[in-house]
């Protein structure tokens, strides 16, 4: 069965990379972000990369998280309190993958606490400037935890 994955911050570097990685898999992707034009371009790009693309741009974070089986938080504003508070209830029982790089403001423990009924997975711990941007973060971490989720 196709899993639905909401990528919040698909217009951000990390989110874009993840979307490109996941598009060939058996997933229905929901692309969200602050820049709708960027998301539209990303969708076109995905369709060029993979003709069988099953993705769409959505505008409401709550609705998308509600629809999703897996929620990926891939940009700084996605982990802000205001957004987390809104998706909290619809994220109950779901896997939430945090792809935001380390900074002082965000401790994973805090986020786990705020999303206490979700399964929160921190995916990238290396600061972006230390990790070479495209293939490394793009390839490995993503594949690793998608396999985990399927078993779960």
């Amino acid at each position: 069965m196709k899993k639905t994955i909401a990528i919040i911050g698909a217009d951000d570097k990390m989110g874009t990379a993840v979307a490109k990685e996941l598009v060939t898999g058996p997933y229905h992707l929901l692309l969200l972000g602050s820049n709708v034009t960027c998301l539209g371009q990303l969708l076109n790009e995905l369709q060029m990369i993979f003709p069988g693309t099953d993705a769409e741009v959505l505008h409401c974070f709550v609705d998308a998280s509600w629809e999703a089986d897996i929620i990926i938080l891939a940009t700084a504003f996605a982990v802000e309190d205001s957004l987390i508070a809104r998706i909290r209830e619809v994220a109950t029982g779901k896997t939430v993958i945090v792809l935001v790089n380390d900074d002082e403001e965000l401790a994973i423990g805090q986020l786990t606490e705020r999303l206490s009924y979700s399964k929160v997975i921190r995916a990238v711990s290396a600061p972006l400037k230390e990790a070479p941007y495209i293939p490394v973060i793009d390839g490995k971490p993503v594949r690793v935890f998608i396999e985990m989720i399927d078993e779960y």
């Binding site: 069965m1 505008h59 509600w66 629809e67 205001s82 209830e89 029982g93 779901k94």
Partner: protein, 212 residues
């Protein structure tokens, strides 16, 4: 913070969110008395899931890991035979449970497909979560026992009806018991549920109209 042009929808979203467990609470309250506090404790065991029309909750060959409670919308579960014909096992509207118990408890792949007939809002719960929830809130045992009793009775009656009634009687029985399903579900699916061809159902409906 401005939420990128969706602030106008915020009110609706807030309204929906508070209404997320409304049907479930009504269903539980209609069968047992449960405090709001106990109900609050039950909430985290459920996963909220939205399905759009024609999306699937379960497909044949997958293991059904959840049963679903319908907060809003309509679903059907069906099997497909060797000749490719669909046979509808169950419909589920607001306040109903739907799932493949066999697959849920045995871990065997399901032979059912469960599809949303309308945009639907569901509350999913896994077998493990049900056990944990019942351990934590034993009062809910009674709720599930009553559900089971009711479904047992309904199942037996449906079996007898499908063995002994004529097509016309079957349809009339369905109108009587499930008028809301007749209203919301396409005719060919009702025919499939009753085990008759769409042509037969159409003929019966005509006769009933003339009879009136």
């Amino acid at each position: 913070m401005e939420f990128y042009g969706i602030s106008s929808k915020l009110y609706i979203i807030l309204y929906q969110r508070t209404a997320m467990f409304e049907q479930l609470f009504a269903s539980v309250s209609s069968k047992i008395s449960l405090t709001q506090e106990d109900f609050e404790r039950a909430k985290p065991y459920f996963m909220a899931k939205k399905l759009r029309k024609k999306q699937y909750l379960l497909q044949e060959g997958d293991v059904g890991k959840h049963v679903a409670f319908v907060e809003k919308g309509a679903l059907r579960s069906y099997t497909i035979d060797d000749k490719g014909n669909e046979h509808i096992v169950q419909f589920a509207l607001e306040g109903w449970w739907i799932g493949d118990n066999y697959s849920l408890y045995t871990g065997e792949p399901s032979t059912y497909n469960i599809e949303a007939l309308e945009d639907s809002e569901l509350l999913l719960i896994s077998a493990v979560s049900i056990e944990q929830m019942l351990e934590s809130i034993p009062k809910l045992e009674k709720y599930f026992r009553i559900l089971l009793q009711n479904s047992m009775v309904a199942l037996q009656r449906r079996l007898v009806a499908s063995l002994s009634l004529t097509s016309e009687e079957k349809y009339k029985r369905m109108i009587k018991i499930y008028p809301d399903i007749i209203q919301r579900v396409p005719q060919h699916m009702i025919a499939s549920y009753l085990g008759m061809t769409p042509e037969t159902l159409s003929r019966i409906r005509k006769q009933i109209t003339i009879g009136q």
